[in-house]
């Protein structure tokens, strides 16, 4: 394989990986704070993809333009889900929460199936075949925009958690549940906010990803798994780790798809997971459990 092709594919993979990273970031935020494993994560992303798809089909609205409104809608969905159902499950055993989210995932998948049918669908934006040339590099416009959008959203989230009062309060809930209660924080409300933020993240990721991939109602579980692999690879609870893990997985998939057969590319993400669990169980940027 010529080096320039390999390089082009690698760059494309990293840009796609940033969107994966944003998706995983949502999972990481939810798990890091609420301590609930969102097994409906990929399904929630498919939901956002279908919202973007419908808006594009009906009003010809570019997914990138609709990024913020869709993220807001997903925020509301996540907030209500946590406030309405999941909050009453946080003291239940892990497997009980898991079953709840599996039920939610089944409902989402099949509601989408009823509404949109089983066929793969995508959007054709005007710039779908544009590309930028940088020396020997040729970068697809869609991938470039996708990568930039993903980094922007992730950056905004980072700033929110770091510098705003609400973000600080959420981190306090994550660090010390009892402590947060003692100083008078309404922990359940912050949990709902956090789940909303995680949902907004995955919603934004889904909207962006629609520029790159087809969507079918049943694709959710695969993305859920991918998000987990990325979060574990990058380090549970580390925001830069999620993005780094996403880029790594995106890069691996792209290069493996080029060198081997595309249908076997996901095997390489699983291989990364096994290697990480073997040699660095806390993840690349994760802190060792104390």
């Amino acid at each position: 394989v010529p080096v320039d092709i390999l390089l082009n594919v690698a760059v494309g993979g990293v840009l796609t990986g940033l969107v994966y990273g944003l998706m995983a970031l949502g999972l990481s935020v939810i798990f890091g704070v609420v301590r609930v494993v969102n097994f409906a994560h990929g399904e929630m992303m498919t939901m956002a993809m279908y919202i973007a798809l419908t808006l594009f089909a009906a009003f010809h609205l570019d997914p990138l333009v609709m990024l913020v409104p869709i993220a807001l809608a997903m925020f509301a969905f996540g907030y209500l889900l946590q406030a309405g159902v999941i909050n009453s499950f946080i003291t239940r055993p892990e497997h009980s929460q898991f079953l709840l989210l599996i039920a939610i995932a089944i409902i989402i998948v099949n509601a989408l199936l009823i509404l949109f049918g089983p066929d793969a669908q995508n959007v054709q934006v005007a710039y779908a075949f544009d590309s930028y040339q940088l020396g020997p590099l040729i970068v697809d416009a869609t991938k470039l925009y996708a990568g930039v959008a993903a980094i922007t959203v992730a950056g905004a989230l980072f700033v929110f958690f770091r510098y705003t009062e609400v973000g600080t309060a959420i981190r306090a809930c994550a660090d010390n549940y009892t402590g947060a209660l003692v100083v008078g924080l309404d922990v359940k409300r912050f949990y709902a906010l956090t789940f909303g933020l995680g949902a907004a993240c995955v919603g934004a990721a889904g909207t962006i990803l629609l520029l790159l991939f087809d969507v079918t109602p049943t694709v959710g579980p695969a993305y859920t798994l991918l998000a987990f692999i990325i979060v574990i690879t990058g380090g549970m609870g580390s925001m830069p780790g999620a993005l780094l893990g996403g880029m790594l997985v995106g890069l691996t998939e792209a290069v493996a798809g080029l060198l081997f057969t595309p249908s076997a590319k996901s095997m390489f993400s699983f291989a990364i997971l096994v290697l990480v669990l073997l040699f660095r169980p806390q993840g690349i940027l994760g802190k060792k459990a104390t």
Partner: protein, 334 residues
């Protein structure tokens, strides 16, 4: 030994168990083809649920990748039959150790490095997915185009080669479910069983008490995987076709664990009751929707999801513990 197994079980529970068994043995005589198919499915999931329950219910290790062991069992038996004409019971000699070895490798990876809880669950899904993609490219077993067992009209049931009427599969699965039930009861009463419960409740404390937690967790995953592979063998010979996309799919793993979850994790009746309840819901829904003339793909599954949600919210411990308390069947505390 048998007297030991029934220690502490209430008379009512034993009587119920006897009646249930009698019903299951006699039911096929009056049941039509449809009911028989549904019953076979219930037993299939009751058996697999029982096998899976050893991991989460007894030893506290959440596996979400049991489709891996079903698939390994199914593919081993089918490939040996198609390529070499070796019957399913003989291939168990290969299928069971193979599945147990796969379980042991996952366990080795996870338990040595203290990969636990969610991480362990993800690892099990990932390995199952790895196998799915792998088998999709393995031409010896037909790759993604599928592996097919020769089908013909069988005048006589050939139990040795598992070729014949669905009724035969029903009784084979009934026997397997009963044996699994008794086996699990025996396991729970064994030394390992008590160690498992200790690990499930508090692993640190178990280790502090001198239990070799690594060894006993490995034991749980290997027994569970080996048992599960037998379900796969039956799957292969019952359906006569295998596709990696179906057998190794995450949704298969989820179907296996829904039974014990709904029925009651860690209880012996849970997997059986759960399989029964879920299948009843699914079939009831199908009949209802057909009656209403609704024929949209996904409707059935949608309602299934909603009912599942309601069950989880209303009965956090599962159906069986609630039922047992309600009707005085709970095990006596010794």
């Amino acid at each position: 030994m048998i007297a030991h197994l029934t220690d502490g079980v209430s008379r009512r529970a034993l009587a119920l168990l006897g009646v249930l068994f009698a019903i299951l043995v006699l039911l096929p005589m009056i049941a039509g083809d449809y009911v028989l198919t549904v019953l076979t499915l219930i037993l299939y999931f009751a058996y697999l649920g029982q096998a899976w329950n050893i991991m989460l219910g007894f030893a506290g290790q959440l596996s979400l990748g049991h489709a891996l062991y079903v698939g390994l069992g199914a593919y081993t038996a089918a490939a040996l039959y198609v390529h070499f004409g070796i019957g399913p019971w003989l291939s168990l000699l290969l299928a069971v150790p193979l599945a147990a070895a796969a379980g042991a490798s996952i366990g080795f990876l996870a338990f040595r490095f203290r990969v636990a809880g969610v991480y362990f669950a993800i690892l099990t899904i990932a390995v199952a997915e790895f196998a799915r993609v792998g088998f999709d490219h393995l031409t010896w077993t037909g790759a993604s185009a599928g592996l097919f067992l020769p089908v013909a009209q069988y005048v006589h049931n050939d139990l040795w080669n598992l070729r014949g009427h669905p009724l035969m599969f029903y009784y084979v699965l009934l026997a397997a479910t009963v044996l699994a039930f008794i086996g699990c009861r025996a396991l729970l009463l064994s030394r390992a069983g008590y160690f498992w419960l200790a690990i499930r409740e508090d692993e640190e404390a178990a280790r502090a008490a001198g239990i070799d937690t690594f060894r006993y967790k490995m034991m749980a995953v290997m027994i569970s995987a080996g048992m599960t592979s037998f379900g796969g063998v039956i799957y292969a010979f019952y359906y006569n076709n295998l596709f990696p996309e179906q057998v190794f799919n995450i949704s298969q793993s989820i179907l296996i664990i829904l039974g014990p979850f709904v029925g009651g994790v860690g209880t012996l009746f849970g997997p059986i009751v759960g399989a029964l309840v879920l299948e009843a819901i699914a079939e009831g829904m199908r009949t209802l929707l057909a009656g209403l003339g609704i024929d949209l793909p996904g409707t059935n599954q949608l309602f299934f999801g909603i009912v599942l949600l309601l069950v989880v919210v209303a009965l956090p411990e599962g159906v069986w513990p609630w039922f047992a308390r309600r009707f005085g069947l709970a095990e006596r505390k010794s």
